[in-house]
Amino acid sequence: MALVGRSWLLLVGFILFYVIYLLFGALIFSTIERPMEDKLRHDMEVLKKEFLNQSCVSAASLENFLFKVLAANKYGVFLIRNASATSNWDLASSMFFANTLVTTVGYGQSTPLSDTGKAFSIFYALLGVPFTMLVLTACVQRLLYPLVLAPVSLLQRSGLEPRPATAVHFVLLLFLVVLCFFVVPAAIFTKLEESWSFLDGVYFCFISLCTIGLGDFVPGMQPEQKYRTLYLGAVMVYLFLGLMMMYLLLRTFHKMSDVHGLTTMLQLPRCEDSDPDEDREPIVDHGESPQRQTEKGASNHLEPGSQVSYNTINRG
């Protein structure tokens, strides 16, 4: 009973802390962004006035026109480009779109316009998202040995205790990932995209690899992009590999906190390897999986608590 009570308390504590965190973020964003927004607003007013002053256009017809332009713009149809510009839905771009759909990044720079497209997206996503997560999990499972377990045991054999060994390894892995998947790609993007600064590149990499995908920066959207297909293909590969590494990092971090006893202290679900299939022979010596209070196997598949964290819930 006390255990149940404690878990509820912890949950409530978490929620509270989470709300506070959100409020804090809101405050900071507000103070940083608001002045810029006001300035931009002011600039727009001035621009409109100027335009209207020196021309015969009435305010109403301008509004009307702008409204239509912006509606089209929302769907990725730009007025400024030439009519012969690349479509947003040629094969490469459609594949890129499908990729952003199944990895849940979802930039949104081009979205389905037709009703059928929207309906199809729903089904495609419902099937494709778990599918992608399965693939990612499978890949990470195999990478776990050469990238995590072998180095840690190496460190251990060279004399470190298990706890510091995992910590050292995690830091090393983190450093490597940041270098290869943030710094280097950001530099490449800065070269290839005209209007991106280095910070923009890092920001883009981060927002994409966390699958947030705001969509304010999307590669390959310039009108005169050379080798566009190749470029988009490379970006897709980068996304996939990057997601894998992020998941690996998360897994490593979770295992590390297991070893350090953090997860048990906070009563969080422990880091479990997936059930050993024939195809996934346990590489590591598994102890008995902790028996949790599952209702007699009936809701085994459905118990969301059997997944570890949000990321692993989605990713199988």
């Binding site: 015969c56 729903i122 377990l149 910070l199 981060f206 969509g215 819930i313």
Partner: protein, 396 residues
């Protein structure tokens, strides 16, 4: 199950061989799944293209004609001026400032409640993108904020999911008392979970959005799915239009997102489990088929080898006899044995059931004349090493 770091360090040598074998097998599976994903993507791309491109061209034509119309009606505006204006407007829109509309409304995109919503979209990794930070400081802060917030939200979601699961499990307990069979319970519980959850987290919110935001039914459903799978395109955002919203609208939406995400996570992992089961079953069936095929091939080749062995021995005997007969004949007739003529080889499958043929051939050898050597059955010695027998038959 934690890594047994404390008990014994991982030794690389003993399990290496089995691991290498296991790794080889597993990589095959991974590549297979990977190819499947690529195929899935290509298929999706093709479908999207065929669905969307016509629409897009339509839109394009429409907007171009709008532009031309505008320019023709207002002759004092030239093309470059217009384009400049549009460019500025578009970039303003991207920064969240909408100049098309009355500038008198003072609601900012970065007031506290909207910023709260934005922070929420970052943490849940939905990332609509209708609002996004434009200052350098804002972007850097966004990165740091997400780094801390996403795991935090992850734990929260795990906790919420846990509670959902327990509540659901308690409901199952009550249902269990009515039925006895395990599988029935599982099936019913899954159905209940899916149905009830869909009603509560998908259908009901979609109806509410349709009513409040003015979207169509499909668009509301589309928004719900895209949001709860955390894809979050941002073409539809609850609370993002210029409508007057009630005060508690946004917080309720946010709460719905939280619980809905837990539900969807469970659904998606269920679908993932089904996919795993399907793939396992397919693998099993394929494995069975392959095992059968292997067995059959093994049997057939064993039989074939056995038969070939027998045949080669028989033919060897016959060859010996034929050779000895020829020698006798030629010595009786006083000829020196003519060189063997080897005819161009032709591998023939011999029908060993026909004993009569063999006897005939033997009989034919008896009546050999030297000139009829060409018409003789010349047998090459069986190449026992290679296990091949080339039987040359030259028809008279």
């Amino acid at each position: 199950p934690r890594l047994s770091f404390s008990t014994k360090p991982m030794t690389l040598t003993p399990p290496e061989e089995s691991e290498v074998v296991a790794t080889v097998m597993k990589w095959k599976t991974v590549t297979a799944i990977f190819l499947l994903v690529v195929l899935y993507l290509v298929m999706g791309a093709a479908v999207f293209r065929s669905l969307e491109q016509p629409h897009e061209s339509e839109q394009r034509l429409a907007i171009l004609s709008q532009k031309l119309q505008f320019l023709s009606r207002h002759s004092c505006v030239n093309q470059s001026q217009l384009e400049e204006l549009v460019k500025q407007v578009v970039s303003a829109i991207r920064s969240g400032v909408n100049p098309a509309g009355t500038m008198t409304n003072n609601s900012s995109l970065w007031d506290l409640s909207s910023a709260f919503f934005f922070a929420g979209t970052v943490i849940t990794t939905i990332g609509f993108g209708n609002i996004s930070p434009h200052t350098e400081g804002g972007r850097i802060f966004c990165i740091v904020y997400a780094l801390l917030g996403i795991p935090l939200f992850g734990f929260l979601l795990a906790g919420v999911g846990d509670q959902l699961g327990t509540i659901f499990g308690k409901g199952i307990d009550k249902v269990e008392k009515m039925f006895i069979s395990q599988t029935k319970i599982w099936v019913i519980s899954t159905l209940l979970f899916v149905l009830f959850g869909c009603l509560l987290f998908v259908a009901l919110p979609a109806a509410i959005f349709k009513h409040i935001e003015g979207w169509s039914a499909l668009e509301s459903l589309y928004f719900v799915v895209i949001t709860l799978t955390t894809i979050g395109f941002g073409d539809f955002v609850a609370g993002g239009s210029d409508i007057e919203y009630m005060d508690y609208y946004k917080p309720v939406v946010w709460f719905w997102i939280l619980v809905g995400l837990a539900y969807f996570a469970a659904i998606l992992s269920m679908i993932g489990d089904w996919l795993k089961v399907i793939s396992k079953r397919t693998k099993e069936e394929v494995g069975e088929i392959r095992a059968h095929a292997a067995e059959w091939t093994a049997n057939v080749s064993a039989e074939f080898k056995e038969t070939r062995r027998r045949v080669s021995i028989e033919i060897h005997d016959k060859f010996q006899r034929a050779a000895s007969i020829k020698r006798k004949l030629s010595s009786e007739l006083g000829f020196s044995p003519a060189p063997e003529v080897t005819l161009p080889k032709r591998v023939v499958s011999v029908n060993f059931n026909n004993e009569r043929d063999k006897n005939e051939k033997e009989a034919g050898l008896h009546g050999l004349t030297p000139s009829a050597i060409n018409g003789a059955l010349v047998l090459n010695g069986p190449d026992l090493e290679r296990g091949e027998i080339s039987i040359i038959e030259h028809l008279k």
